[in-house]
Structures are given as C-alpha cells and as structure tokens.
C-alpha cells in the first residue's frame, strides 16, 4: 500500500508541486520572518554594543507620567547646572553635558533637504574625539558658524570640506562652514545609518533644544573602582524623580527594544502574508485531493476489493498529504532563509544605513515552525478527502468511472444558516451603534457562510457570466465545463476569493477614509492656502521661521492668515499634543471651530481651551484647572477658559500665545490663509512660495493638495495591498492551473471526441480558456462582494474614529475583476495547450 502511495506520488509530481506551492509560499513567509528577526536582531545588538560601549551612566529628563521607563518623553533638555550637581555626587569621576537630538536637517547641494528612512538626523555638540568618534579630515568647530559632518552625511549632501551648507534645526535656516568630517570606531561612515552634524558647543543647545544652556543628557564616568550600579543609585537619590538615570546596558536594551518594534511591523506583515498563503494552500490541497480521490474512485475500490482496509485507504491519502507537507516545508524553509536574509540585507543597507550583518541567523523556531505549519496545513486539508476515500464502497469498482459531484444539500443548509446569521449580526451592528464585536462576529460568520455556499453559486454565477461567451460553440462548452463540478469550481474560486476579498476590504476602508476626509475638508475648511511640512518625512513635522507669517500677512491678496505652533505637553500627568494659534478667530473661521462653552477669545496667560471630547473624558468645564508641563517652564496650573468643537487642525489643547517660548520647537508648523475676494489664489500661492525659499521642506497647497497630503500617509498601506494582490494573483493562477490540468486529464476522451467531430485546436484552447476565465472571474466577483461587505463592516466600526462616509473603490474593484479575467487567461495557457494536443486516436480508442 505504501509502495502504491509512493508510485502515485511520483506520477503526479507536477500536480502535487502546484498544490504544494501555496504551502511553500506560506512557509517561506513564516520562516523568513524568524530569520529576519534573528539576523537583524544580532546586527542591531552589535551596533548598540558599539554605540553604548563607552557609556557608563547617563542622566536625561524623566518621561512624563513617570510610570514606565520607555514612556515617550517630551523633547526637552536638562539645565546646564545639572552637570555640576551630578559631578558632585560621590563616586562620579567626570560628568559631561552633551546635546544629541534628532532633527538637524542639512540642505544638500541640490537644494533639497537630505532625508533618511528610519534612521536619525542627529544634531550634536562636538565634545572632542573619543573612543567612539574620530575626525577623519579637517578639524573641530571653533565657532558657532562651523560644523563637522559625519562621512555618510557629507556624501549624502554632496558637499565637501570647506563648503557652506544650510542647516534647518528648531531655529530657522542657518548657514555653516563644514570644517571637519567625522567617522566612528573602525572607520565607519555612520552608526546604523544615522546622519550627524556636530555643532560648536556655544550653539548646539539653542539650535537643537530651542534655548541656550541646555543639554539633552549628562554622561557620567564613575571613579575607578566604583560599581556602575552604585553611581546610578547615588545620582538617583541626589537628583530626585525629575530625571532618568540609566546605565549603558539599560540604554542598549532600550535601543534594542525600539529596533525590535520597528521589525515587528515587518514581521506582522510577513506573518499576515503567510496566513493568507496557508489559508489558500489548504483550499488548494483540499481541492486537489478531492479531485484525485474522485478520479481514483475505481482504483481505490479495487484496492478495497483486493483486501485493503478502510484504515489503509485513509492512511494512504494522508501519507501522500504528509509527503507534500514535508516537502513543501523543506523547500519553504530554504526559500524563507533566503528571503529573510535578503530582507535583512535590504533593511540594513537601505537609506544609507550601514548596519553590518553579523551572519545570517536561523533560530531553532524557524525549522520548527516551518515543518509544523507545513505538516499541519497539509494534513488538515487532506482529512476530508481522505475520509471520503475511506468511505468508498467496494461496489464502486464495478461502476462507471465518471465522477459526479455529491449533492450539495448539507453544505447549502450550513451555508445558508451561517450566511443568515452573519447577515443578521452585520445588520445589527451596522444599524445599531456599530458595536465592534457584532460586526466582527458578523463578518466572520458571513465569510464562512459565503464559503459554504460557493459551490451552490458556482453553476448559476459561472453560467450567467458565461453568457458573454455563449456566441461560439467552444465558448458554450467551456461555460458548461465550468459549471459541471460545482465543488471543484468553488474551491478553485475560493482560493482567489480570499485574496481579492482582503484587498477589496482594505481598499474599501481606504476609499472611505479618503472620502470622509474629503467631505470633512469640504465641509469645514475654508482656508484657501495651507502652508505646512510633509508630516510623513520625520517623527517631528518640519517647522519654519515665524517671520514667514508676518511676510505672508503683508502680501497684497491675503485677507487673513493664522499660524499654528505645535508641541508636546503633559496635562495632569498625561501626555498630550498642544497647539498655539496666532490668530484664534481667523483660524476658527477657516476650520469651522467654535466654542461650546466659554469663549475662545478668553484665552490668555495660563488660560487654555480644550476640545469637547477631551473635556468630556476628563470632566472639564470652563473654570476647571489642569496642571500643564511644556518642554520648558516647569509644571504650572492653568485654567480652562473654553471648550471647543471642530478643532481638527488644533488637536485636544489650545494654549495661549504666551506659551510659544516654552515649546520645544518655537517655530510655526502651519500657516493657513484666506485670499481676498478680488485676488487669484494661484497668484498668492506663487508669492507665498517665494517666501518659503529658506524652508525646502515646507509647501503651500490648496485644499485639494491638503487632502492629497493627508492621504499620502496611506501610501504604505496601498503598497502592501499591491504586494498582497500580487501574492493572491500568483496563488490563484496556481490553483486554476491545477484544477484545469486535472480536469483536462480527466476529460481526455471528451476532448478526443470533440476534436474528431470538428473542434479545431484553437477552438479547443478557447474552450479551456473560457472555463478558466469563468472560474477566475467567479472568484474575483465573490472576493469583491465579500471584501465590500468586510470593508463596510470595518468602516461602520470605525465610524466614531471619523470615517463617516462610505465609499466604494470602483476603479480598483474594476481592476480586480479585470485581473480575474487575466488570471483565467494566463492560468489556461498550459492546460489549454495540453488539451489542444490531445491525440484524437488515443482518446477515442477504448479497451
């Protein structure tokens, strides 16, 4: 029996390869994720080990809330006087104030700001050469007008020693002379791809921290023989709760955690792809085995008649599945290691990053997961066909070899039940208040219902689409073939449906989000021109010189202009984003913002306004007091002067203009303006652009451009959708090829017959192609329908997060359907060629 299994495996190599490929893909993603994490994890470990090698203890401002160590901190400095206090702590040999902050943006020779992907653009104090930093060329900065650039930045900006470069910091653009080039231990151009500008100590604080006399951290060297922990404890007790005192090892661990969470995104994308591939893999293998078992009914019955037991039949099918699973897992593990290594390499070199890879890591979990997943998925998929094979009665050996489908009644009943339940839950969720669990449960149940009902829909749906091809005999035959094995057609279509449904769902959510945003902009924003930086470029949106606002106001066609400053704060111990608006009435008009309690004109020193939802959440009303801490100025008690609604552009907290100097970035983030009735928007726009020559990151847009900028952040999601689409298409093609190949083989005699009575080779190919196209388009249609439903459920659930308009991504839906047709055509090529080559004589000769 095992020998027979082995022989049947070999004779169906191609078929098994096809059905196993989805598993190979899935396993590739799973093991790739493990390898990527491990490989990059080691690389970053090495990097941080280097970076924090010479750090013993470091003192930084404490995070707000103070609860957990890795709470995000408000960007601020420590006062210079702290250095002396630290130095006075027993056991401290030396304490050095340093500035090293992200956000030094160098303007390259092409006039554009040098950007990075993921890594920082540090602005630091030059503290002299040490065992980490060295001068490769030139000298240290001697005045505030001189800088040292790291070698990576020098190259990226295209400047040379002695050149003058413009640099943007929290201060407006300033020009510096490059007097030196710095490198790091071992002759590295950069540490982990970070770009670094080292300023003279007289200006670093003002440029990077917004005011003089500040440091971002104090580095501590313990006296000889004093343990690091003792020094750490000593400093802690000397300074109190306002500061964070960490050892080099702790910093290193924190940096590593940060890097890991970056990777976590990539990993979850990979695992998501794996889930889709494996789900589809199950469908494909189930389909293949179902067809094989049906075709081999007589053979299996004969084996039973010759004395084979049910158990042996079951085992033989499962054994075959096991071989597929193990083989696919082995291949997938191999490709996964390759993919993981490739991604790690891309990740480590991309954007000028130069993280040296410390060898490719294959953690034990990679093979364990690969084989676990491969075997599990293939066995799960084969169980149903195997049981069916075991139930074949001996008498079947004597029957006609045709493979009629079993009736669908049970499936239909289950499908209708699940579908109805799903629809009911969804309706309850959508009509009600969008309860997430109702929508979630409804979506899942509905999905299961659709999958169960797919066989019942196969014939009518494929039949109606097939009318398009009913003009020719070959087309009619193809249409009939597509409907003759509803389960087969349904399973094949389901493989495509899964991918298309996910894609359509995501596209629907994206389209709805964009539409909601567009509606809100149309309803609420009356500003004609909006000046702002590209928020997606960096963690902190770029800001610009407040003087620009005065010049914009002075322009002829401008009727009103309001600037917005932004910053981080802690309000009653909770981190919050705050804004300061230069002209509150003008801004309120341009953004349909209004007070629901108190008056916005009532803002003044220590009098703030809060958005209505936040006011509700914190039970605040005019007259309430809150404790506010900004980057500078300590913690102060402030009074709520007004509660507003519609403050989309401001955020939760609106602070008085007097607080600008206490923000980490005392520069404008936005200026919005309206154009006087008789002036042309385009003219004003050109004049404003001219004013922004010193701020290459800042652009002027109209409302439409503003929408585009807001939706730009979805580009990454759109890219992921495209990758997913590619994957879905690939797997779907495999599935359709597989099914068609099996069907063509099964219908050899019929093919011979139609060829004998006059179907040409071309017509035969068309017949197979029509069948393939119908199956694929059926799958695409199902996917679009299910995806729209899922998307609608998600959109409904997100109603409260501001997605209030439901929009269908029509062009993309059309694309998916067209793609279905293309998939059909492509998948048909090989089986159709094979069908056309059918030898008429061999096909019609009967034993």
């Amino acid at each position: 029996m095992l020998h027979a299994t082995w022989k049947s495996l070999l004779s169906r190599k191609l078929r098994l390869l096809l059905s196993g490929l989805a598993i190979v893909l899935g396993v590739t993603f799973v093991s790739g994720a493990f390898v990527l994490t491990d490989t990059l994890g080691r690389a970053f470990d090495d990097l941080y080990a280097l970076q924090y090698r010479s750090v013993d203890v470091q003192v930084r401002p404490a995070p707000e809330g103070g609860s957990t160590e890795d709470d995000e901190e408000i960007r601020t400095g420590v006062p210079a006087g702290l250095v002396d206090r630290v130095r006075a702590v027993p056991g401290v040999a030396a304490a050095t104030g340093i500035v090293s902050v992200d956000g030094a943006r160098v303007i390259g020779t092409d006039g554009k700001v040098v950007t990075t992907t993921g890594s920082s653009r540090l602005g630091s104090t030059w503290t002299g050469e040490n065992d980490l930093v060295r001068l490769r060329a030139g000298r240290a900065p001697r005045t505030g007008d001189e800088v040292v650039l790291n070698a990576a930045l020098l190259e990226a900006a295209g400047v040379r020693l002695g050149d003058r470069v413009g640099i943007l910091t929290v201060q407006p653009r300033r020009t510096f002379t490059v007097v030196g080039v710095q490198e790091y231990t071992g002759g590295r151009d950069s540490l982990g791809g970070n770009l670094e500008v080292s300023f003279h100590s007289s200006v670093a604080s003002r440029l990077m921290l917004g005011r003089d006399g500040q440091f971002s951290a104090v580095g501590v060297t313990p006296a000889a023989g004093v343990p690091t922990a003792a020094v750490q404890a000593g400093i802690r007790s000397a300074l109190g709760a306002g500061y964070r005192v960490q050892t080099g090892a702790e910093l290193r661990a924190a940096a590593r955690t940060d890097a890991q969470s970056d990777l976590a995104v990539v990993n979850s994308v990979l695992l998501g792809f794996a889930a889709v591939s494996l789900l589809v893999g199950v469908v494909l293998i189930l389909n293949t085995f179902a067809i094989l078992v049906a075709q081999r009914t007589r053979e299996l019955a004969l084996l039973r008649a010759l004395g084979g037991s049910r158990r042996q039949t079951l085992a033989s099918v499962l054994a075959e599945a096991l071989v597929i699973g193990v083989t696919a897992a082995a291949v997938g593990l191999g490709t996964g290691i390759g993919v993981g290594a490739l991604l790690a390499w891309l990740f480590s070199t991309q954007g000028g990053r130069t993280v040296a890879l410390a060898g490719i890591g294959v953690p034990l979990m990679a093979p364990v997961a690969a084989f676990g997943v491969g075997v599990l998925v293939s066995l799960v998929a084969a169980v149903v066909p195997a049981l069916r094979a075991a139930r074949i009665p001996v008498i079947a050996a004597m029957r006609e070899s045709a493979t009629p489908d079993r009736p669908l009644t049970t499936l239909n009943r289950a499908g209708i039940a699940a579908g109805t339940l799903g629809a009911a839950l969804l309706t309850a969720g959508v009509v009600g208040d969008g309860t997430a669990w109702l929508l979630g449960a409804g979506a899942v149940t509905g999905f299961v219902g659709v999958v169960l009902l797919t066989p019942a829909m196969a014939r009518p749906v494929a039949g109606s689409i097939g009318r398009l091809f009913a003009g020719t005999a070959a087309g009619r035959l193809g249409r009939l073939n597509a409907g003759r094995n509803p389960r087969r057609t349904a399973n094949t279509a389901t493989a495509l449906m899964v991918g298309i449904a996910l894609i359509t769902g995501m596209n629907t959510v994206l389209a709805s989000t964009t539409a909601s945003l567009r509606d809100r902009i149309a309803d609420q924003i009356t500003a004609d021109l909006l000046i702002a930086g590209d928020a997606s470029l960096a963690d902190d949106p770029p800001a610009f010189d407040p003087a620009v606002l005065q010049r914009v106001r002075a322009l002829g066609g401008v009727s009103a202009a309001a600037g917005t400053y932004r910053g981080d704060a802690a309000v009653d111990g909770e981190r919050a984003a705050v804004a300061v608006v230069t002209d509150v009435p003008a801004h309120a008009r341009m953004y349909s913002m209004r007070a629901v309690a108190g008056a916005l004109t009532d803002l003044g020193p220590n009098r703030v306004a809060v958005r209505d939802d936040t006011a509700r959440r914190l039970s605040l009303r005019p007259g309430s007091t809150v404790r506010v801490r900004l980057a500078y100025g300590g913690t102060r008690s402030m009074t709520v002067a007004a509660v507003y609604t519609g403050g989309d552009a401001v955020g939760e907290w609106l602070l008085p203009i007097s607080e600008v100097p206490n923000l980490a970035v005392p520069q404008l983030a936005n200026v919005d303006l309206t154009v006087a009735g008789d002036a042309a928007v385009a003219d004003v726009r050109r004049q404003v652009e001219a004013l922004l020559a010193d701020s290459p990151e800042i652009t002027v847009t109209d409302r439409e451009g503003y929408l585009r900028r807001q939706t730009g952040q979805y580009d990454l999601i759109a890219t992921l959708i495209q990758i997913l689409l590619g994957l879905a298409v690939l797997i779907a093609v495999l599935g359709v090829v597989n099914t068609l190949a099996l069907s063509v083989l099964e219908r050899t005699r019929e093919l011979g017959l139609v060829r004998a009575v006059g179907l040409t080779r071309g017509q035969t190919m068309w017949m197979v192609t029509v069948e393939a196209v119908l199956i694929a388009v059926f799958g695409a249609l199902l996917g679009v329908a299910v995806g729209t439903g899922l998307g609608a459920a998600v959109v409904r659930a997100l109603h409260r997060s501001g997605i209030t308009t439901f929009a269908l991504p029509w062009p993309r839906i059309g694309l998916c359907l067209a793609l279905g047709a293309v998939i059909g055509v492509v998948a048909a090529i090989l089986p159709a060629a094979r069908a056309a080559r059918t030898d008429v004589l061999r096909a019609i000769s009967y034993e």
Binding site: G758, R761, G762, S845, Y846
Partner: protein, 246 residues
Amino acid sequence: MTTPVAVRADDVWKLYGSGEAQVTALRGVSLSLARGEFTAVMGPSGSGKSTLMHCMAGLDAVTRGEVRIGATALTGLRDRAMTRLRRDQIGFIFQQFNLLPTLSAAENIRLPLSIAGRRPDPAWWEQVIDAVGLRERLGHRPNQLSGGQQQRVACARALVPRPEVIFADEPTGNLDSRSGAEVLAFLRASVREFGQTIVMVTHDPVAAAHADRVVFLADGAIVTELRAPTAEGVLDTMKNLDRVEG
C-alpha cells in the same frame, strides 16, 4: 456531374513502430466507396479494420498511398484543414462514449454544426429526428438515455451535417440485439432514403447483412468482397477466411 465516388483509398499502407517492433497494419489497400452506398468492413481481430477506417477518415496519417474524400486528397492536409474536413464532410459513430455528458441529446446532435457556427436546416432536422425516433428525448442528458438511445443520438449527430461519408466503428458492438437492430435499421434507412454514404466496421454477420457490400480484410489486405450480402453468405466467407488464416 460530380464523381459518384465518395471515398477512395489508393494503395494505402500503414506501418506502426519501427525496427523489430514494426507492425504492418495495412498493406496496399485500394478501395472505392460509391456515393449512397452502405459498405461493411469485416475481418478477424487485428486485421486492420479500425486502422483502415482511421486512415480513410483522416484521423490517422497513411504511411504510403492516397486517400480522397470527395474531391479532397487528405495527404498533406494541415491539422486545421483536416479538422474542418472532419467537421463538414465526415460523420463519426464510435462504439461508445459518443456524446458529451454536459450537452443534451439535441445539443449533442447539433454539435458539429454549432462548432461550424451553422444552424441545421429545419426540415432536414425534423426528418432526421423522426428517423431516429428520439423526439421525446431531445432534452435529456446522455446519462438519462439507454445505450441504444445514445447510439441513435450519435447516428443523428453524424447525419445532420449531411457529410460526404459516415464512418461507424462497431456502432452496435456494445448493444443488445434489439437496440443494435434499431441502430442498423436507421443506418440502412439513411442510405436508402437520404442517399447517405456509410462505412461500418462490424464483427456481426447479421449487421453486415444490412449493407450493400461487405469488404473482407485479413492481415492488412482486402481479400474478397460480397455484394448484396446475406448473413449466411457473410458467415461462410468468414469461415473460409479463418481457414485460410489458420
């Protein structure tokens, strides 16, 4: 006037395989089939009956010699032209599996015409349907028809395009005698009433007796033939053949 010859084979040789394993299935067969004639081909198993039919029907290429269907020489025809010829000039009735399971009886009958993108002439259609006696069964699928009914559907399918010739390889081989008789009666009638040319391979002397002429093959060559055969005459000739062979 066109030639009264529907199919003509001239010195047809057919060799299978090569070297040691070479089989000579036909050795110089020449045969003319007149229009409107019902010819039966008989002979022992392995004598080359099917091979001859396949060669004459353009399903298989001859090794040497020439076959003409009507005015068309088959030698050198490309697949496309050959397929067209089969579609328009030749009807087939095989021993079994003649019908597409997805099509109804009527659709199966219409298949060659619909492949050609033509519709049957209504009067002729009615006449054929009446002759096969399947009017009630036209909407049925093959698996809802008996073996004899299926063969009659196949006969109608062969007849409806009015081909130059119909080739039937043991059309009654799988049928009981009553169903076989119905099929034979239909073939006979289509020759008599519609002037159809038919070639039929058979092992059954009674079936052969329905033909106008019986050609006897042995070891790849025509050995003799009978005109206006009777079942007894055919049987006798067969016995003689066997004796010659033995």
